[in-house]
Symmetry: C2
Subunit: 248 residues, 2 copies
DNA sequence: CGCCTGGTTGAGAATCATCAACATCTGTGG
DNA sequence: CCACAGATGTTGATGATTCTCAACCAGGCG
């Protein structure tokens, strides 16, 4: 009951105290921004990146409608992006894990179109966009990589659109679990055992479901023997069946 | 019964026969790609743009998983983007009207992640991406404009996500109508009277609803006096009530 | 300890999907 | 120009999924 499975949490993959580590040494650099760069170009990028202090749970990386000045890479922990709709409701548009880039939504209008806040203790790298833009003009591979990241954001959003438009509650949950599983694996962590950093309410919000439905489906999947759910700790016992359920 | 309201169709705003018109003379240039450019820079962009022959209804601009080489600007008519999901279903991810850019989804993996086909007779400008990229490095305002367009795509997708996640069938339809109304207005056409280029099935697919539900809601809005629906011709009689219904 | 937030479970209600029948529109060939 | 066929759209009856409301439980923190 009281035991924690801390070894599987996503927020421990880099030491959060040593936030001065630079891009060349960062163990995330194979999935983060500089993937396409040569060593000496990484240093040039490294010079413009600002490493911020760890954020505590609930603290904002940036807020909707704030002037857009930077994009951010998650170093540890996790972040949710959300916007407040016309009628005051929250809509979560994405969850971001270590190595993932957030904030590109702000480029269009020089303002952030969503807010981003830490789901747990988290650290982010801040990359001033103006300087990134300047650097891009002299480093074509950086420009290309940056285009690629924005395009990935589009592809992801479109996947979510499909999920919301066509799939049942069960399929949505299964897909989210598989997505988090894949990201956990990308970080060299377990693909079958991980901790959900977000609340059930957040999951429901993101997937267009109510908390109750989310809760019921977790229970159902557990009863069916596909999952072992213990609060936020998830163990996927039958990942193939989960895949099938998600429609893959 | 037999009378057409052809004056309001979106596909007539430029002469589809004269597809050799260049960017400087194009009446869409204030909303299309070169918005941020000086006259002599527009010429440089103009040189790399290829104008294609008009597409007939159902013809593809590009197909999912084809190698990505170009982005496209709609000159006349309209286009839908869609992808085929794992289990063989179609999911429409967007509708594109004159002056709008499509194809940026392909940048990430050098392949198109969706297919795009003409909803009616349509003409598009093809912009080879490689040359656009090269030109971008010497024209910062073009690079910035291009970032902006990709970012807009993200913002739009996120709006659709919110729509699908939080809103009722009635609200989704109302929102789509308002979106098309706004785009019609941007093309200097009527904001209250326009022709829907897509089928009811397409609308349902895009909004995550069945055809029947779409049809019923059109009927309901007509009975309530908010709309005048005559097949694909829409007249918005009470646009403020539609706005309220959409939650704006 | 008790409060408060977050999560679970149940019963009933609402929305939307499904199935089915029918109407209308489009375009093709006579 | 008409007739027909297939596609597209409308309407109704029924049913399933998910939401809403409500009660209850568990864990974390002052």
């Amino acid at each position: 009951m009281g035991t924690r499975r801390a070894e599987s949490t996503l927020d421990n993959i880099v030491c959060t105290h040593d936030f001065r580590i630079n891009c060349s040494d960062c163990r995330l650099n194979s999935i983060c921004l500089p993937i396409a760069l040569e060593a000496h170009d990484i240093d040039r990028l490294d010079n413009i990146i600002q490493r911020s202090k760890p954020l505590r749970k609930g603290e904002h990386v940036y807020r909707e409608s704030e002037p857009f000045t930077s994009v951010f890479a998650v170093r540890s922990g996790s972040v949710k992006a959300y916007k407040i709709t016309g009628d005051g409701k929250e809509q979560i548009t994405g969850f971001y894990f270590p190595g993932e880039l957030l904030g590109v939504d702000g480029i269009a209008y020089y303002r952030h179109s969503v807010s981003a806040k830490a789901l747990e203790t988290a650290a982010v790298c801040e990359i001033p966009f103006k300087r990134l833009e300047e650097l891009s003009t002299t480093l074509p591979s950086l420009q290309r990589h940056f285009f690629k990241l924005m395009s990935q954001e589009i592809t992801q959003d479109q996947q979510l659109i499909t999920l919301l438009s066509k799939n049942s509650a069960e399929q949505r949950i299964a897909s989210l679990l598989l997505s988090i599983s894949a990201r956990s694996a990308r970080l060299k962590l377990s693909a079958t055992s991980f901790r959900l950093p977000m609340s059930r309410t957040d999951i429901g919000n993101y997937l267009g479901l109510t908390v109750e439905t989310v809760s019921r489906i977790f229970s159902r999947l557990q009863k069916a023997g596909l999952l072992d759910v213990e609060n936020k700790e998830i163990r996927m016992l039958e990942i193939d069946k989960v895949r099938k359920m998600a429609g893959i």
